[in-house]
């Protein structure tokens, strides 16, 4: 099994399409999204009136992971409710992801 990085981004739902395009441009071969609710610095986000969050997960190489995080930090971290983190994962077929 090959070690890779799982990058998880939790962001406002309005950013879903933009983020999907951007991580693809940075080298992600795919991603998985689910609508979630949550609370953080910006308070509760749990319904359509007030906005919801999405959790975007993408399995990428170490290098792409760093690129994505740098991009998020530069473009979003100041202004938007957003959280991102990286986990080590193992996959069977590497060619699917890199």
């Amino acid at each position: 099994m090959t070690p890779l990085k799982l990058v998880t981004i939790i962001a406002e739902d309005v950013l879903e399409d933009t983020l999907a395009k951007e991580i693809t441009a940075l080298g992600a071969k795919g991603y998985t999204v689910v609508t979630v609710r949550g609370k953080g610095e910006q308070g509760m986000r749990e319904n359509l009136w007030e906005g919801e969050n999405v959790k975007i997960e993408t399995i990428v190489s170490d290098e792409v992971a760093l690129k994505i995080l740098a991009h998020l930090q530069r473009k979003y971290f100041d202004k938007y409710a957003m959280v991102a983190y990286v986990t080590d994962v193992h996959v069977v077929r590497t060619q699917h992801f890199t």
């Binding site: 406002e12 007030e50 906005g51």
Partner: protein
Amino acid sequence: MFASLLTPMVLAFLLGIMAARLKSDLKFPESLYTSLTIYLMVAIGMKGGYKLSLAHFDEVIWPALAALALCIAIPLWTYLIMRKLGRFDVPNAAALAAHYGSVSAVTFSAAVVFHDTLNIPVEGFMPSMLALMEVPAILVGISLARINARFPAHEGASLKEIARELLAGKSSILLFGFLIIGFACGASGWELVSPLFDAPFKGVLTLFLLEAGLVAGRRLGELKRGGAFLIAFGIVMPVVHAVLGIYLGYWAGLSEGGATVLGVLASSASYIAAPAACRVALPEASPSYYLTGALAITFPFNIMAGIPLYHYLADLIYHVPV
């Protein structure tokens, strides 16, 4: 006038507020909320289009111009008041301008039902005004932010792009789309779908207002954060805007009922299209301000006191004309 508040709609709204204050676990599934929104837009648009097909062009054109004037002017002074008197920063002032300039389809429907209940006629084409007034104010609000604060344009989102997105946005597409469909199909089309879009409308509005009450009730806890200024603004300005709307409606040749509804449109604040647009285009603006203003102050005020008040004011204006 008090009796007119004893409708299932207003009481369901109150029940929702109460349930939220009691921390009830009553909650609408999001897809029910979205489905009700879609239903309301389609039903308003379809019926409005059908009624528009019965109207004459020159009945409609002056009210339309009045509507446009209102929704372009309101955000301008809202912005100024928020900046100068309210001491809000640029993005928040601009977001509030966008919200108060734009309109609320549910407040509109409540006003139409209010007139229905009192058997006061309202021009059937008023949904066209609702559709017209939604987007421009949001664009004005966002432009104000861009102009006034050398606000760095959101990467890749020019004002033109935002305009395009707003016009292709859910509520525009549904309102304009079904206005045109209703217009094109006329009476025969309306007959086919009215058992779904007409008869149960007030019932659906009752359910929607229950949910709106739940959300407004939860927001009430944040009233303090908005501050006394926002509360005062959210009650006083809607009345000013309503009076303005009624006068313009009067001059544009609307009936008393129609003018009152135009006043209600002017006074209402958007909480569907505007928040979504501001979240994307003005991320620095805090939802605490604009949602509290639109949803926890102005919306309940209009539903529970504003509409009958504007009706009363319209009565004065129409019987002691300037």
